[in-house]
Each structure stands twice: as structure tokens, then as C-alpha cells.
Amino acid sequence: MVAQYHHSLRFDVDRCDGCMSCMRACPTAAVRVRKGRAVKLADRCIDCGECIRVCPRAAIVPLTDQMADLSKFEYKIAIPSPALYAQFDSEVFPSMIFSALKQCGFDDVESVSPACDAVSIATEIFLNEYRGQYPLISPFCPTVVRLLQVKYPELVDQLLPVLAPREISARDAKLRKSRETGIPPERIGAVYITPCPAKIVSILEHPGMEHSNLDAAVSICDLFQTLAAAVSRVQESEHPMDVVESASGLSWAFLGKFPRSVPAENTLSVAGLPNVIRILDDVEKGRLRKYSYIECHACPEGCVGGCLTVENPYLARGKAIKLQQSLPAGCIADRRDVEIAYRKKEFLMTERLASRPLRPLDEDISRAILKMKERDRIHADLPRIDCGACGAPSCRAFAEDVVLGEADRTACVFFWQRDIANRIEQLANLVKAQQEAIGGLS
């Protein structure tokens, strides 16, 4: 049985013209072009959104929510990713963005900064008490989690089982607002203002949890125009000054020199999927055992590089660093409170993370071995220039598709030419033989 996984993007066949940009950009070889249209291989897709970045026809649609979808909630709390602040100039303070979000239709806005600081403390406690295999890997980027589940199943046990700040903020804000307003928590919507589609995946099926505390996600790019207009209307005097932000909370939006959540000793931070893949390859080979913790961001420069942001990630990072200078530098979470909550398991995932490795060439190892030999035989016969004309991203991927019966060998133009040439030669030989036979008769 093939399990169905939730995904955060949809390929629009009417817009797709089969240009292959997404197929070439996909880091997990999850796209094929068949009959002139891009097709997603759902079990390989890790929702990184690289295809969204490169599609020239906007044919890949992120399944984020629109503002109109949120009317089903009686009360709406916006939970902005710290990457949102970095889309604006550093003179635009988070408090102004909060006021503007309220003008856009949210009843309240919750900052993730306190939860970021609290999660950092929880991570520190976990690391101090951990006695398993090293290094631990950060679980906050849903694409990284999915990458591990699909491509590195043996490393899934090394994912840190601590919840992301956005989940903690959503849970706490809903409970608090429910107490204040009397509206039951299930009618309150916690809406993430997201820089990427991957967060949708963790909302639809949260790894290590029965369900997510978030209810919806609106993308930064969908909201930006309305929000920017609202920000420009916000007067200095009217924005509330009680917004709790911290420089350390903001640092969760981008790649730092060290992981955002733990001390620098024996830790690494990595951003950009190709780099993350190289690091995980090294972890798998046992090379990085002396590191205790590796923070992985799928997007270049971290969340500021999300494919649903509007600003160039390097500019956004610069703006965030500048904004940090005007925010309080210390931790804004109370260590004792966090420790108590940690002991009550409020920061931990409740279920063991499951892996979902790609299906092998065959469920039966003997047959899989035969297919692997066949794959190599076909591959050796291909031009090995990865031209993509067959609709697969590489000759190797094509050879595998052929072995699995998902593509026909003649889809390779080089093979096809040779095949035709062979047939012409055979026909010519046939004609010659026939002529000789007739000649012999006459």
C-alpha cells in the first residue's frame, strides 16, 4: 500500500508548458515531464519550493490559505514568522507591522520571540540530558524533516524532538485568548504568516504530534501588498509599544554563525538544500559524531530566503541584523518557567518520528538486485549528458524509470535514433536479401 502524504504545492496543468525548469531545479528528482506537462512524484517531493522559485509561468501553486479562507474562524490570531519583519526597512518596527496586521483583518497578533527564547532553553536542557547518537539535527524546518524521512531514514531518530516556536506560540495564544474572550479554542484560528509552503505540511500533518497547534498559513507574498499599504498608514503614536520582541527571537529568521538555539560549542549551522544534503551525507557516514547539534535550514540564508517572501534574502538578512540592534538583546523567556514547563513535557513532541523511505526498486531484494543491474545496463547505454529531453532530470533517473516501467526507452532521443537506424539497416538487409532471392529466380 502506498501511503498518501500531504503536500503544500500543486502543479497547474493549464499553466504548465513543460519547459522543464522545475524538473532541473528539484533537489530530490521528484519532477518528470510527461506529455508536455510537469508531473510531481509525491513520494519523492519534500515541499522545499525550489520549483516555485524557478517556474517562469507561475504554474506551481503553493497551497497556502487566502485571507477569505479565514472567515471560518470566530477569532483570528496572526503569528508572523520573524522573516516577515525582514521584508520591511529596519525603521518599520514589529509593533507597526502588528498594527497593520490588525488592519488587514486579524483580531490579534502573537510574536514568536518569547517562544523562540523558550525553545532555545528547552533545547539546551534536552541536549544536556541526551545520551543517544550524535549529532542531533534541528527539526524546525519541515522540509529538512521530510528530507530526513525520505532520504535519510536512519537519521530520523537523531531529529531533536522539541517543538518549533511557532507551535508553542500558537498553543499558548489560543489558550490565552480563549480565556480572555470566552470563545472556545477550537473556534480560534492560529494563522502563521509564512515565508514558505513547507509550513503547510507541518500544519496538515505535524511530525511527532497528533495534530499541529496552528490552523492555517497565509504567505508573506500574498499578504505583502495589503500589509505594506497598511504599514504606511500606521502612525507612530498609534502602534502599541507592548510588543514583545527580542534580538535572539529575530535571529531565528536567518542563518547565523552558530545555531540560534544552543551554545556554539560543537555545533554547526547550515543553509540551502544542496549544502544540507552534503552535511547529512557526512552525518550518515559517521563523520560528524563530534558535533552535538546541527541546525539545518532548507532555504538559502534561512527563512528569510523562503520562496514565498518578497525581498532578496541577503537584503532581508541585512535588514534583520539592523533591526536586531534596536531590540532588547537578552533572553525574554523566564528560565525557571521554561524548566517547569519542560518537565511537564510541554516542549516535546509526543510521538516518535516516523521515517518514510522511498520505495526501493523492488520489495524483494533478489528482484531489486536484478533491477539494479538492469538499471546500470540501461544507464551505460545512454548518452549520460542529462539533457532532460526524455522528461527525466538525469540519465540515471531515466534508467530507473525504465526499469520501474514508468518510462519507455524510446523516450530517449539518442536511443530512439539508434533504434531507428538499426531498424533501417535491418530493413535494408531484408530488401537486399529479397532482391537476391528474386534475382536468383529471374
Binding site: 551525507d281 557516514k285 559517521g286 521515517s355 526501493p360 523492488d362 533478489s366 531489486a368 538486485i369
Partner: protein, 145 residues
């Protein structure tokens, strides 16, 4: 006659820019065949340590991967200086790594001991001035250990 799959990888000594690629490729192949994650990890560690030994010490060499229904085997054969005292080289912490190798994070003297720890069968033969041959078998079915 049971089916088996074989693949041969060439490795060049001192080729640090490509070091590690063979073991990545071996591990990807095993995953596609459906070898269990725990075994893939053991073979990944073995092939990586062997590949790095080759890159650091040998002139050139090859790694031969074969996979049968029961086991994964690696044959590593190099042309190189050889190991004068194999028993000593097998000791944890013993290393002949140069300062340059240590700067790159190698030379903790755990390479060969790590290989043996992850192997179900292990054999090493070395001839000074000629080279080293290494054989490792990792069973991937419980009943074939």
C-alpha cells in the same frame, strides 16, 4: 545460484576534492536496492573510512561493492605504501596521519577499528611497498550472520 549486484569504483590517492563521493554513491545504491537503514549506515561508515584511507595514503585503488540476497561485501584494493604492522594499525587511537590530515579532521586512529566494529567479517592483508587489501562483509538478513 543467487543473484548479486556488483559495482566497481576507482579512487585516486590525494584526490581530496572528490573524497567521500564513492561512499555517498554506495549508500544511495544500497537504499535503492532496499537494504535496511541500519545496514546502510554500517556500510556507509565502512566505505567512507576505507575511501578516506585510500585517498590519504594510497596512490590509487578501487572499491568493489557487491550485494547479494544475504550480505553486502566491500573489497578494497590499493596500490600504496602498505601497512608495516597491521596489528598496531588496528589499535584504537593509533595513527600515522600527518599534521595536514589531522587539520582536516582525520587521523584520530579510529579508521580501521571503526571498519572492523561495523563488519560481520573482516580481513586485512598488507604488503609494505605494494599495497593493502581489505575485505568486509555486512550481513543484511538476520539468519545469515
Amino acid at each position: 545460484m543467487a543473484e548479486w549486484f556488483e559495482s566497481v569504483y576507482q579512487v585516486l590517492g590525494r584526490d581530496f576534492s572528490n573524497a567521500g563521493k564513492v561512499s555517498t554513491s554506495i549508500k544511495d545504491t544500497l537504499k535503492r536496492i532496499g537494504i535496511s537503514p541500519a545496514v546502510v549506515r554500517r556500510v556507509a561508515i565502512v566505505s567512507y573510512e576505507a575511501e578516506m584511507n585510500l585517498v590519504m595514503y594510497a596512490t590509487r585503488g578501487k572499491i568493489v561493492l557487491s550485494v547479494s540476497r544475504d550480505a553486502v561485501t566491500l573489497k578494497v584494493e590499493d596500490e600504496g605504501p602498505g601497512i608495516p604492522d597491521v596489528a598496531l594499525a588496528m589499535q584504537e587511537g593509533y595513527s600515522t596521519a600527518t599534521p595536514e590530515m589531522r587539520e582536516m579532521g582525520f587521523g584520530a586512529g579510529m579508521g580501521l577499528p571503526n571498519i572492523r566494529r561495523n563488519a560481520d567479517e573482516f580481513d586485512i592483508r598488507s604488503e609494505v611497498g605494494r599495497g593493502t587489501h581489505l575485505f568486509v562483509r555486512v550481513a543484511h538478513r538476520q539468519d545469515s550472520v
